[in-house]
Structure formats: structure tokens, C-alpha cells
Assembly symmetry: C2
Homo-oligomer: 359 residues x 2
């Protein structure tokens, strides 16, 4: 069976099915943004790992190595933030082919160091080896949170409010822009890419940030989300993750999805549906979370947080309510690097818990 | 500058130089078998990560995927054992090209599951993605030990005894055997490889074990090593790591290095110096450790542990004492996948702390 037939999430489902757990310290294994481990009475340890592969996750034609280093750390820190935790340490594994020089690797590490500095985390270990082709970066992050306080995907309840930080779709539009300029530059010497008026999109794609500030803000305001996930694969995909894990449905309102002006301009330019970009564009690394309904006023007043919908009973399914009041079933197209090609429809009358990709 | 000019350890030295640490919980970062993190009063957390790359670390022509899965977990567990700790959890990152099917990945995971079962550790997370070519496996292991009891590379003192578990060189000879049979099989249908009488070598290469049993044995006997490392890159390389980290020299005795009969037969067959194989053959995953001199009788009586030499003052350098009483300076050729080619001499009149590869 080809892996593309079942996609990344299908593959993970298969290989981790009935995985027995033997250590009393393991509180939550596969299936959330990070694993939860308990080694002491006060704190839980959180662990998450990510691989970034050249040609799949990044294109060195337009991604500077320093930015790549920064991003490779940040996307992992984001997984700890998505558990409402604090990242503490990272390890870095690198496989590099012979076309990379010492100076290249130093640039990559300069970005990693900068990310460690900005987020106050320590690089504590790693492994460096050769590869036959291209660059592979494996980052593992360790963090913590007060014992039993990690926010999972599974805690959302009927009537909870759905909130998202920042804005969505900009990182995806940044990728479209970079790809467009790459095509335009082909064979041209001294090519100058046209990024004027779209600097935000480029920054969102090349230098994303983990929303540790939102985690801190929620703590200051005494808000404990009932569920949380980071938006790495697109809003639709993440909403379906939460709804599947929490056994519930949801309604999100098109008009409430926060979208930056530059994102809208770029979508217009390339003739792409703006909602499609916001629902399925990946790599925003914003936090998507739910809070009890009674927190409406409190959460609505937070800077940089938007209430975009609410949780429903599971039988109502997962849908987007469009500006004209229609409901469109949510499907996970997302940013799944192994997704089957036929899964590329944005929204379709399908099962709300699309078994192929939502988990 | 080409990476091959400075090698893996040189590269790691450069990129981790002056790496500031910000988290009070970070006790030891880069430079040992595992990082040491403290989250509570009683236990320290140990973290180690490894990348295995197709074509560099393994050849799927003769490595069954299940064995590869088993080995990829075990080599990481070995790093926690090398700190005198207990492995608890692992995460697995996989990058797979399109030539791998779901069934292939299930075989790989069957080996990983088996290793988790044998060593009682939990697989708690991971990441699965595409690669453009070949298979990359990134494993991170988390373990623990009593607070401040992790055994580092840096604690060896003058007159300490040098001990090693099991025997050395067999995994390397297993690799030579597998390579020989691969060459012999080229273009032949129904080729049957000749492994009779050499089953141990094949097993040592394809299905190594982490010496958690030795860690348990030392604990039972009340023996706290002053320093420890696992033999992944070869005895010479590991001895130099300990001597550099501990600022000391060493003498090991050729006649005391434990070598299996099958290893000796194979070395004879391929015309390779047996001591070279034992000093520089990697992937044995035995434990190399030092204990105070007064423990001589106790450690000598342990099953499966051999005293092979002793630590000296640093000015005496690191040397092998041959059967005829000569001294040969130790050099780290080891199993360094990025080592410069000219570094392939076994032993040479060089600086005992070869800056290029020993760290």
C-alpha cells in the first residue's frame, strides 16, 4: 500500500495503534502537540519532535539558512506553547550533504542560536552526520507546565468559544509570493524580487514566531483554555483535530477569521479564494484554543485574540458559516506533506471526521 | 571550508562554542552522551538524540527493516545507559521517500516496538514526513537517574581502572561480512550468503543491544563509575573522549581487550589487523567506564566486565601497550562518518588529544 493512500495521519494511526505504555511517568503519548511526562509532583514535562526536509519543507533557493535555523527551532517551540507550556531545552539533529560548507552550517546555527536567545531556551544536544542528498533538520524540544495543567486537544465542550491568535493565511501567501518570484527569477542574473507592500507575508513565511506571548497573556489573565493546538497545517485541519479528540462539532464564521490586508491583496492577485487560504494555508503557528462560554467578555478583550466560533454537539459536524449564512463542511486539506492528491478540495460534503487525514 | 576538513566533532565544537545557557534546569548541555536536565529534587532527566541516514548509517540491501527499527531505538537507549541512567521514553521522526510502502514502515515500527518492549520504554511521539531520497530516522530518548548521579565522561582520575563490557570489534566484522556477501551476491539470483560460524558477527551488526544490564549490575554491586561512555565509534575514539574530558592520559593493554573468537577468525580471513578492528570498529554499544583503583577485585569479578587498562596523568598521553611491550599512541579513527580521509590511520605518533576528531 502506498503511503500516499492513507496520508501522514493515517500512517501514524496505523503504526501507533495499540501501542502499550509501560512507564508510569508517561501521561500522554502520541496524538497531541507534545507528549506529557511526569517526573515529579509539581511539574509535567512536555516533549515534541519535528523533522524538516529539504525539498519538502523548505527550498534553499529563497530561504536563507539563518532564517531556516530560526524557523526550525520556532516551529518546535510552538508545539510546547500549544500545550500551554514553557519551552526549556532543544536538541538538534542535522544530516548534511557534501555541498554544505562549515560556513553554511554556521549560518544555520546562527539562526538557531537567535531563536534560543529570543525564547530563552537552551540548545542541549544533538547529532550531526552526512546525508546523501540535501539537508535534514530534526529538532526535539523539552518544556514543562504545572502538573496536570497541560492543555490537550481533547478538552473542548459544547458551547465553548473557539479563539485564534494573530491572523491566518499570511505564511501560505508568503510561500506563494516566494514561489512566484523564484519562477520569475529563473535564468536571470541580478534578479530583484518584488516584495514591496508584501513584506509581512515574506516575514510570516520565513521568520514565524511561536506564540509564547499568548501563553503568558492567558496565564496573566487567569484564562485556562479547555483545548489548544497550534495552526501548523491550516485552520480546518486543526479544528478537526480538536473536534475529533474532544468528540464534538464546531461552527466557525467566515467573517470572523482574522486575515491581514496583505494576505487579501495577494490572494486577489493570484486569483485564490481568500477563505481557502485562511482555512488551509499552513505554517501560521498561531494558537487555536477553546474557552468556556462565560469567558466571552474576558477573552474578547484580549489584544491579538479573536473569537471565531463555538463548539457544538458532535452530531452537528464541523462547518464554516459563510458570509451569506450557508454552511460548508470543513475538510482537512491542510499542509499535509503526505496527503493524497484527491484530498486537495477545500470544503466538501464529506464526513466531518475525515478518517484519512484528521486525527 | 569543507566539513570534511574538520570532521563531525570539529564541526560540533565550532557551532556549540560559547553557547550560553539560560535555563537553571540545564545542568550539562552538549559534550556528553546525553544532556542532563534537572526538574526536581530527586531525579535528573537525561536526553539524547541520534540521526540514522540511509546510505550513510545503513544499507537496506542487507539490513531488514525490522532490525533497523530495533537498532535505531537501541543505539539511543545506549546513550542513556552511558550516563548510568535508565531510559524511559523515546520519540521517533521519520522521513521516507515514495519507494517505501505502508508495509515497509510497519516493519520498521515492529522493530521499534520490540525494542521498546525489551527495554520497557514508551514511544511517546514523533513526526512522519516525506523525503526526496531514502530514509532518515531521528530518535530522541529521555531517561533519568538519581539527582547529580549521572556519570559523565569527565570524572576519570589518575590510577582509575578502565573497564569495558562484552567484547569489541564484532559489529565491525559483521559489517565487513555483510558487505562481502553483498558484493558476492551482485547479479546473482537465489544467492545464499555464507554466514555459517559467523552468526554472532551478523547479530552484533544487525541487532545490537544497549547494556542496561550492566547499568543494573553496577547498581546492584554498589559500583559508581567515575566516568562512562558507550562504544559507538570505536574504543580508541571513546578513550580519547574520556581522557580529553577528564584531562588525563591512559594505558590500555592489547592482551586484555576482549575479542570474540568469530571476530578473530573474520579478521584473519580478510587480512585485517585484529587490534585495529577492536580499537576502531564501531557500533559495539558496549560500555566503557572507569572505577577507582581500590575497586579492582570487585570489578574484576563481575561477569562480562573486563579491566583493560588504567588512567594516567595527562602528560603521559593515551597509548595502547602492545603484547611485546611497545607503546602505540591512540588516535581516533573511529566510525566518524564525516572524518577527513587522511585520518584513517589506526595509531600514529600524533597528539594524544587529536583536535580533529577527539572531543
Amino acid at each position: 500500500m502506498e503511503i500516499s493512500e492513507i496520508g501522514e495521519f493515517g500512517l501514524i494511526d496505523r503504526i501507533t495503534r495499540d501501542m502499550p505504555l509501560r512507564q508510569p511517568s508517561t501521561r500522554k503519548a502520541v496524538g497531541d502537540d507534545a507528549a506529557i511526562i511526569n517526573y515529579g509532583p509539581d511539574r509535567d514535562t512536555l516533549v515534541s519532535t519535528d523533522l524538516l526536509v529539504e525539498g519538502i519543507h523548505f527550498d534553499l533557493t529563497y530561504v536563507p539558512l539563518k532564517h531556516l535555523g530560526y524557523k526550525s527551532i520556532v516551529v518546535n517551540l510552538s508545539d510546547i506553547c500549544a500545550m500551554n507550556g514553557t519551552p526549556r531545552q532543544v536538541t538538534v539533529g542535522l544530516a548534511v550533504s557534501s555541498r554544505f560548507t562549515v560556513e553554511h552550517i554556521e549560518q544555520l546555527y546562527a539562526g538557531m542560536r537567535l531563536a534560543c536567545e529570543v525564547y530563552g531556551v537552551d540548545l542541549v544536544g544533538g547529532d550531526t552526520t552526512s546525508s546523501r542528498s540535501g539537508l535534514v533538520i530534526a529538532v526535539t524540544v523539552i518544556g514543562d507546565c504545572p502538573a496536570d495543567k497541560a492543555v490537550r486537544r481533547s478538552g473542548a465542550h459544547d458551547t465553548d468559544l473557539i479563539c485564534v491568535s494573530g491572523d491566518l493565511g499570511a505564511a501560505y501567501m508568503g510561500l506563494q509570493l516566494l514561489e512566484r518570484e523564484k519562477v520569475a527569477s529563473a535564468g536571470q542574473k541580478d534578479f530583484v524580487p518584488r516584495f514591496e507592500g508584501k513584506e509581512y507575508l515574506v516575514e510570516r513565511q520565513l521568520k514565524p514566531e511561536a506564540r509564547a506571548d499568548i501563553v503568558a497573556l492567558l496565564a496573566r489573565e487567569g484564562i485556562e483554555p479547555t483545548s489548544m493546538i497550534d495552526v501548523s497545517d491550516g485552520l480546518s485541519s486543526e479544528l478537526l483535530h480538536i473536534c475529533k479528540a474532544s468528540d464534538c462539532g464546531c461552527r466557525v464564521y467566515e467573517e470572523r477569521i482574522p486575515i491581514d490586508y496583505q494576505t487579501a491583496v495577494m490572494a486577489e492577485e493570484i486569483g485564490m479564494n481568500l477563505v481557502t487560504a485562511a482555512l488551509n494555508g499552513g505554517e501560521d503557528y498561531e494558537l487555536l484554543f477553546t474557552v468556556p462560554l462565560h469567558m466571552h467578555d474576558k477573552v474578547s478583550s484580549l489584544d491579538g485574540v479573536h473569537v471565531i466560533g463555538h463548539i457544538t454537539k458532535p452530531e452537528l459536524g464541523c462547518a464554516l458559516v459563510t458570509r451569506d449564512g450557508n454552511e460548508m463542511q470543513l475538510r482537512a486539506q491542510g499542509f499535509n506533506h503526505m496527503a493524497p492528491a484527491e484530498n486537495s478540495a477545500t470544503a466538501a460534503p464529506a464526513d466531518p471526521h475525515n478518517e484519512e487525514t484528521a486525527k
